[in-house]
Symmetry: C2
Subunit: 148 residues, 2 copies
C-alpha cells in the first residue's frame, strides 16, 4: 500500500487520499496543523522550505510546529528531504516523482529534468549494497549555455 503511494504522482495521491488518511496510513496522528502542512506541501509546485510552508499558513500553524511537522513527515516517509541549497532544508511529498536539476553555478538558473533511465540503474546499484531506496537527489553543477 505504502509502496503504491510512493510511486504514484502527486495528483494521484491527492485524488484518492486526503491528507488525514495519508497521515494515518503512516501512523501519524492527523492533527489540524499536520493536515494543513501536508496540504500546503501538496499545493507547492516544487520543493518548499519550512519558511515557505509557514508563509502559506500564517495564523494557522506556528513556525516551530511547521519545523517539527516537516521533520516528522520526513521520518515517517511521507515527505522527502532535499538539501539543494546551503542554509535551508527543502521538503516535498513522497511520490511526486524524482526531480533532477541542472544548476548553473553562475546565474543559479535551474533546469528541471524529467525521469530518465539512470534511475533504474541507481536502484540496482543501491540494492547491491543492501539498501532500500526511498528517494534521491541529483544535483549537477556547472554553467548553463547562456552564461557561457
Amino acid at each position: 500500500m505504502t509502496l503504491i503511494l510512493m510511486d504514484a504522482t502527486l495528483p494521484d495521491v491527492l485524488r484518492d487520499l486526503d491528507a488525514a488518511s495519508l497521515l494515518r496510513l503512516h501512523t501519524v496522528r492527523p492533527t489540524r496543523q499536520r493536515v494543513a502542512v501536508v496540504e500546503a506541501l501538496a499545493a507547492e509546485p516544487n520543493d518548499a522550505t519550512a519558511q515557505d510552508i509557514h508563509a502559506r499558513l500564517r495564523d494557522k500553524v506556528g513556525l516551530a510546529t511547521v519545523y517539527r511537522t516537516l521533520t516528522l513527515l520526513s521520518d515517517a516517509g511521507v515527505a522527502d528531504t532535499l538539501n539543494h541549497r546551503p542554509g535551508e532544508t527543502c521538503y516535498r511529498l513522497c511520490g511526486e516523482g524524482h526531480h533532477h536539476h541542472l544548476v548553473c553555478g553562475r546565474c543559479h538558473r535551474v533546469v528541471e529534468l524529467g525521469d530518465c533511465d539512470v534511475e533504474r540503474r541507481l536502484k540496482a546499484l543501491a540494492a547491491e549494497h543492501g539498501f532500500t531506496i526511498s528517494g534521491h537527489t541529483l544535483e549537477l553543477t556547472g554553467v548553463c549555455a547562456s552564461c557561457r
Copy 2:
C-alpha cells in the same frame, strides 16, 4: 590544463603541484591563508566544513577568512561544494573524483560508492541542455540492510 587537474585524483594533484601553484593556475592570489586552507582541504580524508578547516588552522586563519576562502575556491573551480547535510556546507578539492553516497535515513550510516558508468550518461544528458558540468552530488536516501 585545468581539465587535467579536474580529472586527476587528489594525490596526483598534490604530487605535481603545490597549493600556491594550484591557486595561481586558477587566477587566485596565493596568500598565506589561502594556501593553508587548500592544504587543510587536501589533508582532509573526505569533505570538510568551514568549521573543520578552521579547527585545523586555529591561530593561523580566522574563521571568517576560512568561509571567504572556501567560497572563493568554489567560485574559482578549485573546490566543489557539497550540500549533504542540512545546516552546513561541505567542500572538497576538485579532482578527488566524485563521491556517491548511500545514506541510511535511520542510522545515518554512509556507504561510499565508487565511480560508475552512470556518470558518463549524466554528462551527456547535461550537454543536451547546454550545460557544461563541473561537478555533481548524488544522494540516495533509504534504509540500510542492518536497519531493515
